[in-house]
């Protein structure tokens, strides 16, 4: 194994939570409100949770088949060297491509809301540098960092709901299922794709100190995410109504701006932003780590650290050209990304699992 660091099951669970939660929190209320309207919470609570559970089941099953290997290592064993290596390569592409989108999202958000005149490159550079620093220190440190920051993340996610609780009108959620189930299904695509990001487990499951607990940890993460994200969507729609929510670029952020606690705590958006930056840094570091580790394994290197700088440079460059304006980003997130996501998050792992089961391939004796 390239990284000897071990994480515990609870750390894995928290990592998966941050991984999905940090970006989903910000973008999902708007994306779902646009397609599913006031029923957005249903898409998040039911459909995408089911999808997430499915992904978790497939990934952990693969993990049990190949307890000490990651997907880059066992896909050639299952599919044969040529196809297997191609699949590995496509995963490397997926990790880096997704990461580039996230880095871009981050920079655009900062420009749109906080520092409009600061050059985009500054944000990209800083966040990639921070993530690279974390990746350099390995998964163990990322896990610990996340564990340390998690209470803050949770407070910012749930605390905000408490802050605006007086302004939430649950009547805004009615009528339920006005246009039938179709918009809900459509609206569940992006949150499902997001939830499916837990597919990164395929890379980090071997580092779990108690592999048997992996499935439980991932299921906890998916369900808990479902609850928290649903609460946030309900809060957003409850305060702003479905129509206004879909007009806002960052509804959750506007919510932070709107909420107030006894006059003293007003305009907490900057604080929410701070916590969000922390969560996002961890997310980028996770994708970064997986990309670097996968590539190092693909090239059969002894150490993954030399790849950190080149991939960082690729990330910086790619995130600057991956899309041109914020609407293109929303399009990318809600239309293009789900297609890729379903392929990489469910289709390929499921195929792998099926073929491995049929061919009775098992790993684990490699070390």
């Amino acid at each position: 194994m390239l990284d000897q660091g071990k994480i515990s099951a609870s750390q894995l669970s928290l990592l998966l939570f941050t991984l999905v939660g940090s970006t989903a929190m910000l973008f999902i209320p708007a994306v779902t409100a646009e397609s599913a309207g006031r029923d957005g919470w249903m898409s998040i609570l039911f459909l995408s949770t089911i999808f997430g559970l499915l992904v978790a089941w497939v990934c952990t099953s693969l993990g049990q088949h190949f307890p000490r290997e990651n997907i880059i290592e066992y896909s050639p064993k299952v599919f044969g060297p040529v196809l297997g290596h191609l699949i590995s390569l496509s995963y490397i592409f997926f990790f880096i491509w997704t990461n580039a989108i996230i880095v871009g999202e981050f920079a655009d958000f900062m420009i749109a809301t906080f520092l409009p005149e600061t050059p985009r490159l500054v944000f990209v550079l800083i966040i990639v540098w921070l993530a690279a620093y974390a990746v350099r220190n390995g998964l163990e440190v990322i896990g610990r960092l996340n564990q340390f920051l998690f209470p803050l993340l949770l407070i910012s996610y749930l605390g905000l709901v408490v802050f605006v609780i007086n302004d939430i009108k649950l009547a805004n959620l009615t009528p339920v299922l006005e246009n039938g189930i179709k918009p809900v299904l459509k609206g569940s695509l992006p949150p499902s794709a997001w939830r499916g990001e837990i597919v990164l487990m395929l890379m980090i499951l071997p580092n779990l100190n108690q592999p048997a607990k992996g499935r439980k940890a991932s299921i906890y993460a998916v369900v808990f995410l479902g609850i928290v994200l649903t609460l946030n969507t309900i809060a957003t729609v409850g305060v702003f109504g479905a129509e206004l929510s879909s007009h806002l670029t960052f509804p959750y952020f506007t919510l932070a701006d709107y909420g107030q606690v006894a006059i003293v705590l007003e305009r907490m958006e900057a604080l929410v932003m701070l916590v969000w930056v922390a969560g996002l840094m961890i997310k980028i570091a996770m994708f970064y780590y997986c990309g670097v580790l996968a590539l190092a394994r693909w090239f059969n290197l002894q150490d993954y650290k030399p790849l950190i700088t080149p991939i960082g440079i690729i990330l910086i460059a790619w995130s600057s050209i991956i899309y041109e304006n914020s609407r293109e980003l929303v399009e990318l997130i809600s239309k293009t990304f789900p297609v890729y996501a379903f392929t990489f998050e469910l289709l390929i792992p499921a195929l792998l699992l099926a073929v491995a089961a049929v061919r009775k391939k098992r790993g684990g004796s490699s070390q």
């Binding site: 515990s8 609870s10 750390q11 900062m110 906080f114 520092l115 600061t118 500054v122 800083i126 921070l130 620093y133 974390a134 220190n137 440190v141 896990g143 610990r144 960092l145 564990q147 340390f148 920051l149 006059i263 007003e266 305009r267 900057a270 932003m273 701070l274 930056v277 922390a278 840094m281």
Partner: protein, 543 residues
């Protein structure tokens, strides 16, 4: 980054300097039976050492045996020397007649067994070893006709009286502190922990200074791996001098490129004792009252020994207070800079207006103002340390009041900035560990720079970088942030809060897992049932 620059510099430096160790090689010379020759050797070694005293005399009556003593004036207890070594040899030896008279053949044995009335004696037959021992304050006794020399422990190092440590004052708790004398220091610990399981291994480090370094630990509580690690790291040190524990600290720490200390530094014996009982290892160095303790974790950063003596609700409150103070000390000025120059929307309108009116006419941006004031404060602080004791407070007073007041009146800085900097300064003094306070004061500056460049985002970037660094930091293999990350909930009992003593059954998991249970369970005080024929008047009587 820093690491790379350092490497480059080192490479540059190494290229130009031929690498030789400044070691003075001496060959090992055995002692001979001829006293004159031995004296000759020693005199050569101690040439021009005016503090080395040499005296020749004779033992026994009729056929006196020649003898000589060497010692360093000022390091030995001369009255003990004359009582225990000179008097019996020169006077009493005349009456010894058990094996007949003292002669050059039996002199050594008689002297050693019968005549010397002194506790500790070491024998040696090497001239260099002898010389080394003389330097530590022992007295060398050489006898004619013997190739063994006796080393008498007559050490009497002048030492400061035991005083209350100045750097770590407490309200409640013992007032004694370590001194420069390592024996006094070990005695402090031994008095507190009276078990033979308290071990103290000795090492001599420094080819010239030959400083005594003690490794203290309690066997079967401490993690053997940590002790082994301490031993190997200490034995790897190859230097000619150790003058303070700081030398050792920098040689043996896990991560050299960091402002954070990875060892606890203290002058309080009670703190060392408490650490030892939790499975830590203490490293004592001669000639300094500062003792190192490893492994060092984040909760110790914020805890004072007093927390264990005060009532637990108060101790908990104080610890939480210290966290607030830590945050203020680290982020105070930078948050002010970030909010006033980037996030004015966060300030309540009326406060914003009053800040704005107080800043009206100030020439500098808040960021420059903050740097200016912080540097001024650090200068004042440094001056306060360096100044002679009687003037120190006066200068701080002048600095704080006069300069602060005048700067505000002259519209150089805004009054709110003075408040912020003052608060920060005071908050930084609440951090109980000396090293911790230094680290916090140091990282404050880069954070102010980042806050000035990017606002709150800059602060977050700095905090994240620091956090990643802290998560990766280890002190002798133990993660610095434990028990927070990795989380071990049981150990949180003595971290941000302090549970009552009867609830803390176990030692910290990271250091004391070998013998985890330290006391009986369920010792919560029970109120006894009311006595039947109570109501005794004057409860003080039965005491």
């Amino acid at each position: 980054m820093l690491r790379n620059i350092f490497k480059k510099l080192k490479k540059l430096a190494d290229r130009e300097r031929p690498y030789t160790k400044g070691e003075h090689l001496v060959e090992n010379i055995p002692l001979s039976t001829n006293l004159a020759r031995n004296i000759q050797h020693l005199k050569e070694i101690f040439q021009d050492c005016s503090d080395v005293v040499f005296r020749e005399y004779a033992i026994g009556g009729s056929k006196p045996v020649k003898a000589a003593i060497f010692y360093v004036d000022g390091l030995v207890n001369t009255s003990l020397l004359s009582d225990a070594a000179l008097n019996p040899l020169m006077v009493d030896s005349q009456w010894v007649n058990e094996f007949g008279k003292v002669n050059s053949r039996n002199a050594y044995k008689i002297v050693k067994d019968r005549l010397l009335t002194i506790g500790e004696i070491i024998e040696t037959n090497q001239v260099n070893e002898l010389a080394d021992h003389i330097m530590t304050g022992t007295t060398a006794l050489l006898l004619d006709g013997s190739e063994q020399a006796l080393i008498l422990n007559t050490r009497n190092w002048e030492s400061r009286a035991v005083e209350e440590p100045e750097t770590e004052a407490v309200v409640r708790g013992p007032r004694d502190g370590f001194t420069e004398n390592i024996r006094v220091n070990t005695a402090h610990i031994r008095r507190r922990i009276r078990t033979s399981r308290l071990k103290s291994e000795v090492m001599k480090i420094g080819t010239l200074t030959k400083t005594d370094v003690f490794i203290l630990y309690i066997k079967d509580i401490v993690d053997n791996k940590v002790v082994e690690e301490v031993r190997t790291r200490l034995s790897r040190i190859d230097t000619d001098s150790i003058l303070e524990s700081g030398y050792i600290e920098e040689f043996i720490e896990d991560e050299p490129f960091t402002p954070f200390a990875q060892m606890n530094v203290t002058e309080r014996p009670d703190k060392v004792a408490a650490g030892l009982l939790e499975g830590q290892v203490a490293i004592m160095v001669d000639n300094t009252p500062f003792v190192l303790m490893v492994p060092y974790t984040f909760p110790q950063f914020l805890s004072s020994p007093e927390d264990h003596y005060n009532r637990y609700p108060w101790a908990t409150f104080v610890r939480l207070l210290r966290i607030v103070a830590l945050i203020i000390a680290m982020l105070g000025p930078s948050v002010y800079v970030a909010i006033t120059s980037y996030h004015q929307e966060m300030i309540p309108t009326s406060l914003l207006i009053s800040i704005a009116s107080s800043r009206e006419g100030i020439p500098f941006p808040a960021f420059v103002e903050a740097i200016l004031m912080e540097v001024t404060f650090e200068i004042l602080r440094e001056a306060g340390v360096r100044l002679p004791r009687p003037i120190g407070p006066a200068i701080s007073f002048v600095g704080a009041l006069v300069i602060g007041e005048a700067a505000v009146t002259a519209k150089l800085v805004s009054p709110i900035m003075v408040v912020v900097v003052g608060l920060t300064a005071i908050a930084s003094f609440t951090i109980p560990s000396l090293e911790g306070a230094i680290a916090v004061r140091l990282i404050r500056f880069p954070i102010i720079f980042l806050a000035g460049a990017l606002g709150l985002f800059g602060i977050m970037v700095a905090l994240l970088a620091i956090l990643i660094h802290l998560c990766a930091l280890r002190s002798f293999g133990v993660p610095f942030l434990s028990p927070l990350a990795p989380l071990s909930p049981r150990d949180l009992k003595d971290s941000f809060v302090r549970f009552p003593w009867w609830a803390m059954f176990t030692r910290p998991h990271m250091t004391g897992s070998k013998e985890p249970v330290r006391q009986g369970f369920s010792q919560k005080p029970q109120t006894p049932p009311p006595r039947k024929n109570g109501n005794q008047k004057g409860g003080g009587k039965d005491a």
